[in-house]
Amino acid sequence: MKPEELEIKAAAELAKQQAFDVRLACCSSTGCQSSGAAEIITNLKAELKAKQLDAKVQVVGTGCMGLCSKGPLIRMTSKTQKDVLFSDIKPAMAGAVIDQVVAPVLGGATIEAPTGELEAHYLDLEQPFFTMQDRIVLENNGRSDPEKLEEYLVHGGYQGLRKALTMSAEEICKEMLDSGLRGRGGAGFPTGLKWDLTRKVQNDVKYVICNGDEGDPGAFMDRSVLEGDPHAVIEGMLIAARAMNSTNGIFYIRAEYPLAVERIEKALRQARTAGLVGRNILDSGWAFDFEVRLGAGAFVCGEETALIASIEGKRGTPRPRPPFPAVKGLWGYPSCVNNVETLANVSRIMLRGAQWFASRGTDKSKGTKVFALTGKIKNNGLVEVPMGITLRQIVETIGGGTGTDRKVKAIQTGGPSGGMIPEHQFDTPVSYEHLQKLGSMMGSGGLIVIDDQDSVIELVRFYLDFCVDESCGKCAPCRIGGTQILRLVDRIVDGTGTQEDIRVIRKVAKAMQKASLCALGQTAPNPILSALKHFEPEFTERLQPVATAKA
């Protein structure tokens, strides 16, 4: 494909879409699929055909719109009025949607909010859950069909790559550095810097690897991007490859995400056919292609060196660093592993410029972050917010609080590597630095809410048990330390714990933090340490009474 053809194809697709008076976009991510999204789409199409409205109304599947607890969702866009969002739609309601809303709108009526049968299924788009978001990574989710390349082109798809092809590798790295983009997998390392370090290593073979392992329990941001906007990730990878003079690309996706694998493979096939991947990309003479590799159920494989070992067909055990993957990675070649959300930002940054991205966020944490709001929260689902927004705004305004008569006790960010943040600290702005100062971390974006009925000890025990189970076993601090701490926490939970046990927990935790080979072991003590910091009474009240305590 020649570069100019991108615009021509985009315009053609836009014209095609605008030939319809109404467009119904139905969420078709894994969650909504399990609630019948595919059937809903089939039924809608059948109803429209039967009523001879199919020439006027387009029905497409789209990516995660965010309010997962109220799915499946359908968004109606039309030429004559503002968008309407439907929730909790069942396949049998397809007829009602057409008769009570679509048909009247086609007839010239304006539907503010549906009444009757559909009244309970209407979601106000003006509510904070939607208005307070700043969707960059998720901008195509809810808008475009992830299974059609042309739909991706309509909103500037692959124009970022086009621009990158006119720049030098050094220039692309600088642009990324200026944007302030930091790794969204959790560590927050500046992406531009990581790329530049890899770029500087001269080698004939270099790898760009997409980390789609998303092992944090309670996190599904990456899944939604891979399923809802696969081309954005592909474009991001291609730009990354240009930035580092890489020669091969690999998608590493966890096996628990079959739909994500399917969508990425389909998108790659489409891109190859269109000359956007493979040989002579955008007529530039450059060739680059990808392999897709599956994980097999190991949390530790989210760690970059363990991930590399997994691609090499081995047990997922990390390696000591240095040498870093930038110097010696996959098969010994320089490699760069990037998170899915990080890559989805890349194409937008290339398209709209570093300054556009850097204009949002705080001074050290630029851009936005996608969070998965789960647990005891009313508006359960996926949100993308600008950095700097407060935790309270996320949990209470956007999330709607618990939605029951119970109060929010705390949140947990960063998954098994993160920490508890009690309610009285919710006025903290979201940024890498702020969350770390609170004893937690940004993590990949999982944000678990617990209420006053939930036990903090129980939750940290859950995370600890997870880390102990998922530990690869290679290094002693993690393998032994984790088990020892878990044993001690169990004693406290059982009521046989002592003050000495808490002291030992702290000591072993310190050893793990200092001596573990990888971040799994280094951060496994975080939940328990932060719980002791903020919720110590919950531990001490379970200890044996001092008079009868034996060492």
Binding site: P258, E262, K314
Partner: protein
């Protein structure tokens, strides 16, 4: 039948061509993945996708065909949670034990299913109808607590009504839909 060979009337006839050896699917699978460096895990996924688990004999065959020592295969198969060494039941019930599901009672759901099916987590029923396992976060946290049965997700489950899930399974009979294999390119 006479056992004496009648030397004078023996006619040399061409031996009938042996029926073409049916291509062993494991060998075919190995040939496909052998071309890709480090693709042992992909080959094992392929194998488990066909057989439901990784039998020892198949692992041996795969090892020979891919030139990978059996020990290496077992290193991998015992490390990654995904691979099964024993044939599972027909309906594999995967109860999600991710954080959101945990907070909403996945432990309770799992225990209820253990009681309902009379098995422990990680086991199959004697009649090989069901296999029960806890799995890591499936990424559908908005539908917590949930279980996936052969890939079909059942969300917002009532953790005290595990028999309801069994009924749904018998009604839906979810089986893995064969989809396009991951290309070895």
């Amino acid at each position: 039948m006479s056992t004496a060979i009648d030397v004078t009337t023996t006619v040399k006839v061409a031996a009938p061509k042996a029926a073409a050896e049916p291509k062993d699917e494991i060998v075919v699978l190995a040939q496909k993945w052998k071309k890709k460096r480090g693709s042992l895990i992909m080959a094992l996924h392929d194998l488990q996708g066909r057989l439901g688990y990784v039998p020892r004999e198949s692992a041996m065959k795969l090892g020979r065909a891919m030139d990978v020592p059996l020990a290496r295969i077992y290193e991998v198969v015992t490390f990654y949670n995904y691979f099964k060494l024993e044939a599972p039941g027909k309906y594999i019930i995967s109860v999600c034990t991710g954080t959101a599901c945990h907070i909403k009672g996945s432990d309770h759901l799992l225990k209820g299913l253990e009681k309902e099916l009379q098995v422990s987590e990680g086991q199959s029923t004697p009649d090989k109808e069901y296999h029960l396992q806890g799995v890591r976060c499936l990424g559908c946290c908005g539908l917590a607590p949930l279980a996936a049965v052969n890939g079909k997700v059942y969300g917002k489950l009532n953790t005290s009504e595990s028999h309801y899930l069994i009924e749904r399974i018998q009604e839906d009979k979810p089986m893995v839909v064969a989809h396009e294999e991951v290309e070895a390119e």
